[in-house]
Amino acid sequence: MSSSLPDERRLINVNGQWIDGLVGYRCWRSGGGLLRSVVKGSWLQQVHADRALCTPYSGVTSHVHGPVEGCKCGYFAWYSPHSSWENFAARYFYHGEIVAWGKIIKHELGFRAEHYALSALYMHDGMEGRLEVVTQLADRYDVPLVRVDPTSPGMKYFPDRG
């Protein structure tokens, strides 16, 4: 066990309930006007994702909902947006910020969560050809579209903290 893992929190309101959720960074594909999981192909139908399900992809089938210790289920996110960009090229994917809650298994560089809500989408160099799509996605989920510089080491954006 470790207590030195990142623990950036953000207060959000989900269906009338306040949650002091864990901030993380993910990326998605897009299609049909929605964001889509990079690995599993599930669609983000609304700004709050449905409770995470464990699928055969995860390798363990003894449980329905994730995350579970020792499995690969749950919604993955990193503590830093730079990890997201390093793992998935910014020119092909849509990157953004989430707030997670419920059961969360923290790893060294990121976490697996039971629930998450999209809190911002990013726009950066290399996305010029996709500006219209990312703008429509931000409108669809009603989240800020934030201009960022992935090359900036201190890049972070918190809409409610200026």
């Binding site: 959720g21 210790e69 993955f76 996110a77 419920g102 969360i104 298994i105 923290k106 790893h107 560089l109």
Partner: protein, 37 residues
């Protein structure tokens, strides 16, 4: 998604318990007196 490293800690974040404001009953409206025509 890939590469988030080894598992280290499990936490649970529940919704906060925010007190619901007490509902103040609306004052009763005075009954209108019927005035004979």
């Amino acid at each position: 998604m890939a590469a988030i490293g080894d598992e280290e800690e499990t936490i649970t974040i529940e919704p906060l318990e925010v007190p619901t404001p007490e509902r103040v009953p609306e004052p009763e409206k005075p009954q209108r007196e019927l005035v004979p025509a």
